[in-house]
Amino acid sequence: MPLHIPFRPLLKKIEIAIKLSCFIHFIGEHVMEVTMCIGPSMLPTFNTVGDLVVLEHFSPKLKRLEIGDVIVCISPTNPLRAVCKRIIGMPGDRICIDPTIINRKYITVPRGHVWLQGDNMSNSTDSRSYGPVPYALIRGRVFARIWPQSCWIKNGMTPLQEDD
């Protein structure tokens, strides 16, 4: 007895699966995406063990990023890895590379680049080791944390009050 396979419905199901997965991929690539942020470099903001964060892809495309935004960008040293950092400098800003040493070095962020640093400055591989990062490597802005303790991630920078 030949095995009867319902061929047409199966084909229809595969077709729907392909369409759906491509649609989800499109949303993840251009609208918003959920990723895991692992590592000690963002410690007071995110945990070491891996926080689930949501990032949106509109702000980098519309050039709405500002100093203080938490972003996810592709690591300049490894194209297959993404890192989560905070924007410290925009093009044209003058940045002190390491304020803790005596002979401080200053750098001007070049055109089309940003200066990124982790919140945990003592344990973070960031622009201090690989220099300014091209803007095109930024994937999205982190705007919320889902797990643990879901909350909105806001721009953490406050303007410095100058004494008179």
Binding site: K19, H25, T77, N78, P110, G112, V133, P134, A136, L137
Partner: protein, 177 residues
């Protein structure tokens, strides 16, 4: 819902359901692009007529796997302007040592991890790594594999190795300083 029973609307929705699949293919499979400017002469746009542009086939899957070899022609986001896409040739990959050309201040460049050195074929009219240094591999978004138009030059884009490079002969997976 009378609107969804309309056969025109139904066929439109059925066609539109395929658009994410097509978009996926264009973004991560193959797509077609045109090349502007003279920085890649004589490979592309051999006559400097600005109205005639070469149309090429772009292999975008390479930006997913990130497996490049020296001499490939690639398109990448300009490091100094995220809105511009430039076409250049990969001269050196990570670990290699390059002898850069004049605008670059140093005599030798060792390409850092995850970076490459890109140059245009027309070295006098090209803004490339000699000006802004090694570029991250992640900026590359496609490899130029075929020239499609003009039809008289329809061909595969050849790979050319450059003599100003000393190739790193070690394990690329191993960390090197």
């Amino acid at each position: 819902m009378v609107f969804f029973r309309n056969p025109n609307v139904r066929s439109f929705i059925r066609t539109a359901a395929w658009s994410p699949v097509i978009l996926f293919f264009v973004e991560h499979g193959f797509s077609i692009g045109s090349i502007q400017g003279r920085s890649m002469q004589p490979t592309f746009n051999p006559d400097s007529n600005k109205l005639r542009r070469d149309i090429v086939l772009l292999n975008r899957w390479i930006a997913v796997t990130h497996e490049y070899s020296r001499g490939d022609v690639v398109t990448l986001y300009a490091p100094d302007d995220p809105d511009r896409v430039i076409t250049k040739r990969i001269i050196a990959l990570e670990g290699d040592t390059v002898l850069p050309l004049p605008p670059y201040p140093d005599k030798f460049v060792k390409i850092p991890k995850g970076h490459c050195w890109v140059e245009g074929d027309e070295i006098f009219h090209s803004k490339d790594s000699n000006e802004y240094g090694p570029v991250p591999l992640a900026l590359i978004n496609a490899k130029v594999s075929y020239i499609l138009w003009p039809f008289s030059r329809f061909s595969k884009v050849e790979r050319f190795e450059n003599s100003r490079v000393s190739v790193f002969k070690g394990d690329p997976l191993k960390d090197h300083d």
